[in-house]
Assembly symmetry: C2
Homo-oligomer: 220 residues x 2
DNA sequence: TTTCTTTTTTAGCCTTGTCTAAATTTTTAT
DNA sequence: ATAAAAATTTAGACAAGGCTAAAAAAGAAA
């Protein structure tokens, strides 16, 4: 894989996690800071190589192979970030650009030894999980919003109670799968204030209990 | 600088150390495993950037800027080799290819921190010197052949005695500036057997004393 | 010095990855 | 349902870096 191919794959992987489903040409173009026409060319190539599923005008999805290759690139990126912070004492916010270069070095022996040298870390300095050498991810479990921490960024991933009036309530409050939310305050009775896209709303403990969230993962 | 430019610069640097003077297009082509016509294109580009002195049909020489840039690439290569051997416990003969990739990562902060992390090493695992952060080399001093070690590869760099009969003697024995020699045996009286291009000759201690040599540096 | 050989350069083409402009398809809004 | 808008693809071009074949220059030999 060329450098450009690797970068596209990684970008598409992250976008797919956000959009659930097909990733659009324009989204990729914006993400990669390039033109949509360039994206079309590249996704044709990646599709020919069996890394993407592509139907004209319909966006793309990673194949299992593509998903795995992308995961291994992210694995390398994150392991290098751990190295830069733990061993070379960079600050965690300085390492992205350097890791962006190091992630393209091709050598399985290198990355596996680096992994061992760092003590087989499970998370990078930003708290994001590091895939294993087969490109598998330890799934971050979903929790009830009731148990969420104040200040942490979460993504709504589902609900427990599915009665219609509850779903309608969520709809009215603009609480949908995929939205990001931050708990601002919790009261003594587990009711809380949560922030959803610049709006702060109050929800009862019943509502909090019935919403499933998952920690939001940063990308890189 | 692009990856290709960096590789050419490094190759030319090493060739220049061997040839003293201009480096020919064909020599570069062979070194870089490419065609002479491709080399011509590239040396024009590097010459336009002020990294090479180039006169058509006359070969190239590095400018001071070119020499410095090449030295910094070699510095990176060798520091990474130290890292791979000292920290990740690779064998010294396994690290070249990986360092070949790592040497192109662009970040002064990275390489300087790596240098510190490794304890500011002066030599890489092959025994070759590591240039400093300004691209300067610690000159390996010349010694009399009399003091040379058995088995080490040396390059003849000069003579002490310059009387004509001595020079004629050297000429007869094919001992010239630039030839490689290895001491095979030393006798109790400092006379010795030395190997010069597959021929082993015997020289007296007087001759050994009056020949200056320098350790041969490997390339990478 | 003139010819032959070797080296180097030029000319023209290819691939990768990018771009702009135009065409086409899909989506949105009336 | 159809027109307008947005998204996507196609067509054609370009720069980097490489190649082959042919031309030109330099060096060697007669």
């Amino acid at each position: 894989m060329t450098l450009a191919e690797e970068n596209y794959l990684k970008g598409i992987f992250h976008l797919q996690r956000e959009t659930k489903g097909e990733v659009s040409t324009n989204a990729i173009a914006e993400d990669m800071q390039t033109q949509p026409s360039s994206v079309t060319d590249m996704i044709k190539k990646l599709s020919d190589k069996g890394l993407l599923l592509y139907k004209k005008y319909k966006g793309v999805q990673l194949t299992e192979l593509g998903r795995q290759k992308a995961s291994l690139i992210i694995r390398k990126h994150r392991l290098w970030e751990v190295f830069l912070v733990d061993k070379l004492h960079f600050y965690w916010d300085e390492v992205h650009e350097i890791a962006e270069q190091l992630e393209h070095v091709q050598s399985d022996a290198l990355i596996n030894r680096l992994d061992a040298y760092l003590g087989y870390p499970n998370f990078d300095p930003h708290g994001d999980p590091i895939p294993d050498k087969n490109g598998n991810w330890t799934v971050r479990e979903k929790i009830s919003l009731k148990n969420a921490e104040i200040g942490t960024r979460y993504i709504c991933v589902g609900v427990k109670d599915t009665q219609q009036e509850f779903l309608r309530y969520l709809d009215k409050k603009n609480i949908q799968i995929g939205v990001e939310m931050i708990v601002m305050n919790k009261e003594f009775d587990d009711s809380m204030e949560i922030q959803i896209s610049d709006t702060v709303i109050f929800i009862s403990s019943f509502v909090a209990e019935n919403i499933y969230v998952q920690e939001k993962l940063d990308r890189n």
